[in-house]
């Protein structure tokens, strides 16, 4: 027997309602901008949480994939006159292939070794973006044309907000489906006990690669959208600190919680904006958040809250 609303359907509907109602409270372009940045970060974090929270693998290089997507869109539309959608797809496919190629050797590693390898990967991507001045404009970055879709130039805050909200909803829906399927259970089994998972017939290496590639592709797509939205990309998007930021968002929102990833992304995007002086100390505050969550709230915000509410009901 199926309950009327599965918890995940309820969650998805709530997110939808929030995303629809939110613009009613926006007073200026700046509010839209923060919301759009939150949404893009959330898309990356939902994918990253499948890798970190559900499968138990770490990546300190996902900003690299985000930046590759952004630059694929920038370079292909600007230098080679590709259509924006085409550039985005090519970027996503290229990032998919790249992440697949490096995933096999990298994901054989465990713990700190995996962290180091993904860290190295992100740094290499960042260096390439800085060095290939002909193509990328080097450290100064490069402008990106607007996103045109069958002759329609996407512009306006509300339109961009709508697009990001739709992509985010779609991503959350996909992630929820996956988590709730035999594939998602295999991923969680890898996290729970790789030994037992493999003896139960789960090809653990294959699933780790699969989810690494999927999360990299999501980051790439978010990067492409970001490039067109902001109209400008620079190597800063792929910097190590951005990767750490994504991981902090996932950890704060809650490991193995899809909605947690969204909440974590939103909080850590909005917070620095609220505290004007915060900018100089951003790195330190992220470090503090990471440590605080690890010490006081291992599961992260959303799972802790859910646990608390369940406890109240009983």
């Amino acid at each position: 027997m199926m309950p009327l609303l599965k918890p995940r359907t309820g969650g998805l509907l709530s997110l939808m309602v929030i995303l629809v109602v939110l613009p009613l409270f926006f007073r200026n372009a700046y509010h839209y901008d923060v919301a759009i940045q939150s949404g893009l970060n959330a898309i990356v974090c939902v994918g990253l949480n499948l890798l970190i929270g559900y499968t138990g693998q770490i990546s300190l290089g996902h900003a690299g994939f985000f930046a590759l997507g952004a630059y694929a869109s920038a370079v292909l539309t600007d230098r080679y006159e590709f259509a924006a959608v085409g550039a985005m797809i090519i970027g996503a496919v290229a990032v998919g292939c790249l992440s697949y190629l490096i995933a096999r050797p990298i994901l054989k590693l465990k713990g700190h070794y995996l962290a180091m390898a993904t860290l190295g990967l992100g740094i290499i991507i960042s260096i390439i973006l800085n060095q290939e001045e002909e193509l990328t404009g080097g450290p100064d970055g490069m402008p990106v044309s607007s996103f045109s879709f069958f002759g329609w130039d996407i512009s306006g805050n509300l339109t961009w907000y709508g697009i990001v909200a739709l992509v985010l909803l779609f991503t959350v829906w996909l992630a929820l489906n996956l988590v709730d399927s035999p594939v998602g259970r295999a991923l969680r089994a890898v996290h729970g006990s790789e030994l037992a998972a493999s003896t139960m017939g789960v090809d653990t290496q294959r699933y780790k690669v699969l989810i690494f590639v999927f999360s990299a592709v999501l980051a790439s797509i978010a990067g492409s959208i970001f490039a067109h939205y902001s109209g400008f990309v620079s190597p800063a998007e792929g910097e190590f600190f951005r990767s750490i930021e994504f991981v902090t968002m996932v950890v704060l929102g809650g490991m193995a919680s899809i909605f947690g990833a969204v909440v974590g992304a939103a909080i850590l995007t909005i917070l620095p904006q609220l505290l004007a002086s915060f900018h100089d100390y951003e790195m330190m505050v992220h470090g503090a958040v990471l440590m605080g969550v690890m010490i006081f709230m291992r599961r992260g915000l959303v799972p802790t809250l859910v646990h608390f509410i369940r406890g109240l009901r009983k």
Partner: protein, 256 residues
């Protein structure tokens, strides 16, 4: 035909030889027990058979086909499953989900249909859930179906491992000390359960220190000592073997 045949198997870790020149064969439909003192190499033998370790020397044959060095998930696909001496529960899941992972190889695990939640996935998954619930009933865990596994008592977790292994529909089931840490009444239930499993035509390879269980359920017993075969035979033969009584059973043999 032998279901499992071990041929001059050896495994060493650096200087430590855990299993040495071991040969034996198991026919289908039997309960074959392996006993021996701590550190005799029993778990290492299980890890070799289930593909977690590659043998240093010798070979392992399933259905007379050499399976040495195959990875665990391929062996699972050939009908081999196991439980662990040190619990390997997926503590990030409910009890039922643990058992559903055991059903992985019989589930619809295509990526894109799962991603888009195609109805076929949901239907297949519902059958997996029903089958997993059946397996939990079978091992006597019917009350725990929706319990989070990290909220279950130790004795129940031991049986959860067996349910999960059974959900893969094995032909050969390796149980590594299923009765360790259980109280006497729980131990009796485990002995009954092993007999049930054997009656359902699943060959059982059992490692167990509790000799009540071993005498009760075994068709054949192999005694390991320092990684080598010390003796092999029926319960009667083992009980009256002086070398075995000396090395392992000691006063235990007179318990019964």
């Amino acid at each position: 035909m032998n279901l499992l045949r071990i041929e001059q198997l050896g495994k060493s870790f650096g200087g430590v030889t855990a299993v040495e020149d071991l040969s034996f064969a198991i026919g289908p439909g039997t309960v074959y027990s392996i006993i021996g003192p701590n550190g005799a190499g029993k778990t290492t033998l299980f890890n070799l058979i289930s593909g977690l370790f590659a043998p240093t020397t010798g070979s392992i044959h399933l259905d007379e086909e050499d399976i040495s060095g195959l990875p665990p998930h391929k062996l699972a696909a050939r009908g081999l499953s196991r439980s662990f001496q040190n619990l390997q529960i997926f503590f990030n899941m409910t009890a039922l989900e643990n058992v559903m992972v055991g059903h992985h190889l019989h589930s619809d695990t295509r990526f894109f249909p799962s991603l888009f939640a195609l109805p076929a996935i949901g239907r297949a998954d519902k059958r997996s859930a029903e089958f997993a619930a059946e397996m939990m009933d079978y091992v006597g865990l019917g009350n725990y179906i929706h319990t989070d596994s990290d909220a279950m008592p130790y004795g129940a977790l031991k049986r959860l491992e067996i349910a999960r292994a059974l959900a893969s529909r094995p032909r050969l089931l390796l149980l590594d000390e299923p009765a360790a840490g259980l109280n006497p009444s729980e131990t009796n239930t485990i002995a009954d359960l092993i007999q049930h499993i054997a009656q359902d035509n699943i060959t059982v390879l059992l490692v167990e220190h509790d000799m009540h269980v071993v005498w009760d359920v075994s068709d054949h017993i192999l005694v390991l000592d320092h990684g080598r075969r010390l003796a092999a035979g029926t319960a009667e033969e083992i009980r009256s073997n002086d070398a075995v009584v000396e090395a392992y059973l000691g006063r235990r043999a007179k318990d019964r």
